[in-house]
Symmetry: C2
């Protein structure tokens, strides 16, 4: 890293943190205002649905979502308690388990998406033109 680059880097970093944090707050707030669960629930349920007909294990979801093992363990615990997914024992590895989407989980996904989509557009997409969105996507792909 050359010296002249660092000030710009730090400014970009600070701005990235501010913007992404604020966007997350605003979008979560829209979900909450609609009496819907937090984004973490959506992410897990969507991963599970997208993987179908394959079944995912907690460790798979954890890797996709880049979160800690104990966090996915407890997140799944909450989803099971709400009847959104069930645990299914895993024949090939007796330590493991499969996480299977229940109809209620599918319904929640379908209820959340319109609100989520609208919030993404309102707080994020509407502020950028197509070129900026493409450019942002390209830059973020470097990570």
């Amino acid at each position: 890293m050359t010296d002249h680059k660092n000030p710009k880097t730090c400014q970009a970093w600070a701005r990235l943190m501010r913007v992404s944090g604020k966007l997350l707050q605003d979008i979560e707030a829209d979900l909450k205002a609609a009496n819907l669960p937090p984004l973490g629930w959506y992410d897990v349920l969507l991963e599970v649905r997208n993987a179908e007909p394959k079944w995912l294990r907690p460790v798979d979801i954890q890797e996709k979502m880049l979160i800690q093992q104990y966090n996915i363990s407890r997140l799944i615990e909450r989803l099971v308690k709400e009847g959104l997914v069930i645990r299914k024992s895993c024949d090939c590895d007796k330590r493991g388990q499969y996480i299977v989407l229940e109809p209620a989980g599918n319904d929640i996904l379908d209820k959340m998406w319109p609100i989520y989509k609208a919030a993404i557009d309102k707080h994020f997409g509407d502020k950028l033109n197509v070129a900026e969105i493409d450019s942002l996507t390209q830059i973020l792909s470097k990570f």
Copy 2:
């Protein structure tokens, strides 16, 4: 928001959340590995130092950091307990208080910065060229 734009928007959004979350995790981990406090402490202390010789009140810091009132209240509580800042009664508004940096707080800032800076470069700056950093900064300025 036009229909053809939305899929790109959602992809950019998803990528933004993934990347910013991961970067935050990695950089916080570097601080923790060096036995240093979390980024939130740095942000508060830096706001207080940058404002000098003016004194900030909790509500000022809260607005700059875009966090909840109860979060800044408790964050300051921790900093006071560690002797990094002190509360000073505010003559012009008896509800309020000023948050004043103590020498220990200044030291912590100076200790954290080299680690923080190196982490920003390593996890963020080094992955992008100058044009990309400029472009990212410009795009984020739209928010």
